[in-house]
């Protein structure tokens, strides 16, 4: 049976083996906790012994045998690939890639980027409507294109929102939460515009869902800079109870089939 000997950092908080693992990789701990563990390792021989055990064990993993590729691997892979590539169409830029490029170009002006999107969607819809009596098929094509552009933008928006929610729920890092506040503030405005665009294009379900996200984004954006991580507990409970993260993923998957494997 493991002994429950307690090693603590200067703050008095117990240092678990799991934290020592994160400390070993210098990943997943905030800077203050790393300093605390540094100090505790210096001051506590038994904690040092635990950490040495961990280091030694992980070093043994480095010595485990590896499957080495043979010298002809790259040639063999290319030979099979070449045949498949010849049979496949050349790589194309998807709607998502085009919208990402547009967004990157307009990144310094987020409101302008959103406005540009809406303009494109609205213009395509207007053009489609004007041409409908004469060129119905062509007009439908333009309407479908505007819907795809909007979908691609909303999918990107939901991906950013998903990352924000994941950080809100899982991270205790003050730095990450500071970044999250800025991200949330940037997402609030675009969220409103996408909800409006979705409503105008007749997608009431998407519009409702985006409106449901707004209070959460506002809550994250308006967290005081010096608030402790515990101040997010209420929001975290709300997110767990409403399963909002899953809903964001499901909506993303509905909009963008490439994301379907993630839910």
């Amino acid at each position: 049976m493991p002994m429950n000997t307690t090693h603590t950092g200067p703050s008095g908080q117990r240092i678990s083996d799991n934290e020592l693992i994160l400390y070993f990789y210098r990943d997943g701990l905030d800077a203050q906790r790393i300093v605390e563990i540094d100090d505790a390792l210096f001051a506590q021989p038994e904690l040092r012994l635990r950490y040495t055990q961990l280091q030694r064990m992980l070093h043994e993993v480095d010595c485990a045998p590896l499957l080495e590729p043979d010298a002809e691997l790259a040639g063999r892979v290319w030979q099979k690939l070449a045949a498949r590539i010849d049979a496949a169409p050349a790589p194309r830029r998807t709607a998502r890639a085009w919208t990402r490029t547009l967004r990157d170009l307009l990144a310094p002006w987020p409101a302008l980027a959103s406005a540009a999107l809406l303009l494109i969607a609205a213009a395509a819809g207007y053009y489609a409507g004007r041409q409908a009596p004469l060129h119905e098929e062509l007009a439908q094509g333009h309407a479908a294109m505007s819907a795809r552009v909007l979908d691609a933008y909303v999918a990107e928006h939901l991906r950013a929102t998903e990352g924000l929610l994941l950080t809100t729920v899982n991270s205790d890092s003050a730095d990450l939460h500071a970044g999250n506040r800025e991200l949330a503030a940037a997402l609030v405005e675009s969220n409103r515009l996408y909800a409006l665009a979705a409503a105008r294009s007749g997608n009431a379900r998407l519009a409702d869902f985006l409106r449901q996200l707004e209070p959460v984004l506002l809550e994250v954006a308006n967290q005081p800079a010096d608030a402790p991580v515990q101040s997010l507990d209420g929001l975290r409970d709300y997110l767990r109870k409403t399963d909002l993260l899953f809903q964001v993923r499901a909506t993303q998957a509905h909009i963008d089939p490439a994301d379907r494997h993630r839910i």
């Binding site: 002994m3 693992i21 691997l73």
Partner: protein, 195 residues
Amino acid sequence: MTMANEEERWAEERHVAAARRGDRDAFRHLVEAHARPLFTLCARITRDAALAEDAVQEALFNAYRHLGDFDGRAAFKTWLHRIAVNAALEQLRRRSKQEVVGADLEDDEDEDFLLSRATPAPSPGQHARGAEITRRVDAELARMSTLERTAFLLRHAEGQSLNDIAQALSLNISACKQAIFRAVRKLRGALQPLR
């Protein structure tokens, strides 16, 4: 970054840009540069040379088809490795006919396990058991769940961040950490009898 590394990076960017325009030779350069490290990555996950080679094949073909989506925000290598992780997992899924990722997301025990089994530095006799230790590590890696092994090896051997691993495996950070904790705990347990 050294001058040679800088030149390699620049050459790679040119090859990626040309391949995106459909230049087959440029893509061949990328295949030649990345096939071996991708094999190592896939072999760590699948533990089978044939499956690893199939995964490399699929990963590179998927990369070619989706080059238009590569936006250059991550390094090309990072993007490619993410595709390869999924290709390797897919090979395992096909073989086992069951979902492997997400199959073992139960909460980890938070009980410590290092100190109770801690011993002083190994004696010369224990050094002689090095081969046995290596064999046990290898056997334990084979016994781990795919999720645990993949998360652990991406962190430990590939040096990927928890964030990147979580993205590659479609997990949240907490689940990703738990998988790594379980993997380390299992390794510790496997080595204990030799200590």
